[in-house]
């Protein structure tokens, strides 16, 4: 038999066998179900392969989800920080508003925009100046107490001399004993109460308020609390350290008031606040 004939025979066998199968299974569809037994191992293998591929897919999904969650966490933390900042700002502004309501003639709210250019002085630059009615030597207060006074006035900005500066001074008195003195900055974080005679009784915890005798600050502005008293080793006056209620390092908003402004209920410092980073008068 020639090769062509043999090939034709093979092709014919294939065709006949295939057609017979197709016709048979097409007519007897029930037999198709019987063939499922042959596909069982394949189904098992296929299921295993699917399981493996799904696991791999889930692994990649997990990695992707992990990355996405990290990004979301970062965004949420940023948002949380922003919210905390807004809450703190809201609290400060509320206090400032309450303070403003306690001033009969009102005051000018200022916002700190930077530290003073003079490195040797503890000053603060605020966002209001001559155009907004700020005048040199005007007292600067916050809801907690005295913050400083206006040192220089420019057109739209002013420099505030803070209470802890060596050049700052104000006439004060001890709230309880009514003894007078002069408070000045120590150049560090706290203040010094000067010119209190040795024979006067001063104890830590005493509250210091302005006396109004200096012609700059009206009487009754809370300044700070006595933290240390030294009577030995001094000649005429005691060495008294005062912690200001308003920490100079944490002023963000303040109120500039005029000499004629009358203060109501300022003899007591504002209640202590809770947020982190903000200074509160010690109990």
């Amino acid at each position: 038999m020639s090769r062509i004939k043999k090939r034709a025979l093979i092709a014919a066998v294939i065709l006949v066998a295939a057609l017979a199968l197709m016709v048979f299974f097409n007519r007897n569809k029930d037999f198709n179900e019987g063939l499922n037994i042959f596909s069982y191992p394949y189904d098992v293998l296929s299921g295993a392969l699917s399981s493996v591929s799904e696991n791999i897919s889930e692994l990649f999904d997990t990695a992707e989800e992990n990355r996405r969650l990290k990004e979301e966490l970062l965004a949420a933390e940023t948002e949380k920080q922003r919210c905390s900042e807004l809450i703190a700002e809201n609290r400060r502004l509320t206090e400032l508003l309450q303070l403003k309501q306690r001033l009969d003639a009102g005051g000018k709210t200022v916002r700190a925009v930077g530290r003073g250019y003079n490195r040797m002085a503890n000053t603060l630059i605020v966002d209001k100046g001559r155009n907004q009615g700020i005048v040199k030597d005007m007292p600067v207060i916050t809801s907690k107490g005295l913050a400083g006074k206006v040192l220089n006035v420019r057109r739209n900005f002013s420099d505030i001399l803070l209470v802890n500066d060596l050049n700052f001074s104000a006439a004060v008195r001890l709230q309880e004993s009514r003894r007078e003195g002069i408070i000045t900055g120590s150049g560090r974080g706290n203040c010094l109460l000067k010119y209190v005679p040795v024979e006067d009784t001063v104890k830590p915890g005493d509250i210091v308020v302005t006396s109004g005798l200096d012609g700059i600050f009206q009487a009754g502005i809370p300044v700070g609390r006595v933290t240390a008293v030294q009577t030995e080793g001094v000649e005429f006056f005691q060495y008294i350290e005062v912690e200001p209620f308003q920490s100079p390092a944490s002023i963000e908003e303040a109120m500039v008031i005029s000499r004629s402004t009358t203060l109501r209920d300022m003899s007591e410092p504002a209640p202590a606040e809770t947020p982190a980073g903000s200074e509160a008068p010690p109990e």
Binding site: Y42, S46, S53
Partner: protein
């Protein structure tokens, strides 16, 4: 390579190909690795030395057609298609592959390998689609079917380049 090991290798390759083509899709079209397997088996048969035991003038044709029939039948049973469609297609194309290499090509080159597997894949798709339409009376979107077959043929192209005939085809002529 010993014969049992060869057989095991082909079984593994067959199962793997059938699993892979049922799982993977390219542009939404399933692969057609079974026809590639038939093609590869056919050209491997042609590398058998003329002096080998059992090698007759139509051994390669018979072997390729038988292998194609087995692969096709397995595919039919596993895919749930009407048994016989893939059997006929793969068996005929196994036979055709051997015939092409024996009668029309004097020297295997990667381009020729790619061209042959491309044609064989296209023919397989055409036979399966037409037979399915004819026998099972199923409506098939011809455009989609054409795209699918073309995609499968293109995917199989590299296999045509990779798997070569080990000997000069001209040496096999006249066997």
């Amino acid at each position: 390579m010993k014969r049992p090991f060869k057989i095991a290798l082909w079984i593994v390759a067959t199962v793997f190909s059938l699993l892979l083509q049922s799982k993977l899709t390219v542009f939404g079209f399933p692969l057609n690795l079974s026809i590639a397997l038939v093609y590869i088996h056919a050209i491997r048969l042609l590398t058998v030395q003329p002096g080998d035991a059992g090698f007759t003038d139509v051994t390669a044709e018979t072997g390729a057609a038988s292998f194609g029939a087995i692969i096709g039948l397995l595919e039919d049973m596993m895919s749930g298609a009407l048994p016989g469609i893939n059997l006929m297609s793969k068996a005929l194309l196994g036979l055709l592959t051997v015939m092409i290499f024996r009668d029309f090509i004097s020297q295997w080159t990667p381009v020729i390998g790619a061209a042959v597997i491309f044609i064989v894949t296209i023919l397989d798709g055409a036979i399966v689609v037409m037979t399915t339409q004819f026998v099972m009376d199923v409506d098939i979107n011809e455009y989609n079917a054409m795209l699918m077959v073309l995609t499968q043929a293109v995917i199989n192209l590299p296999l045509g380049c990779l798997f070569r005939c080990g000997h000069k085809i001209s040496d096999l002529r006249g066997l």
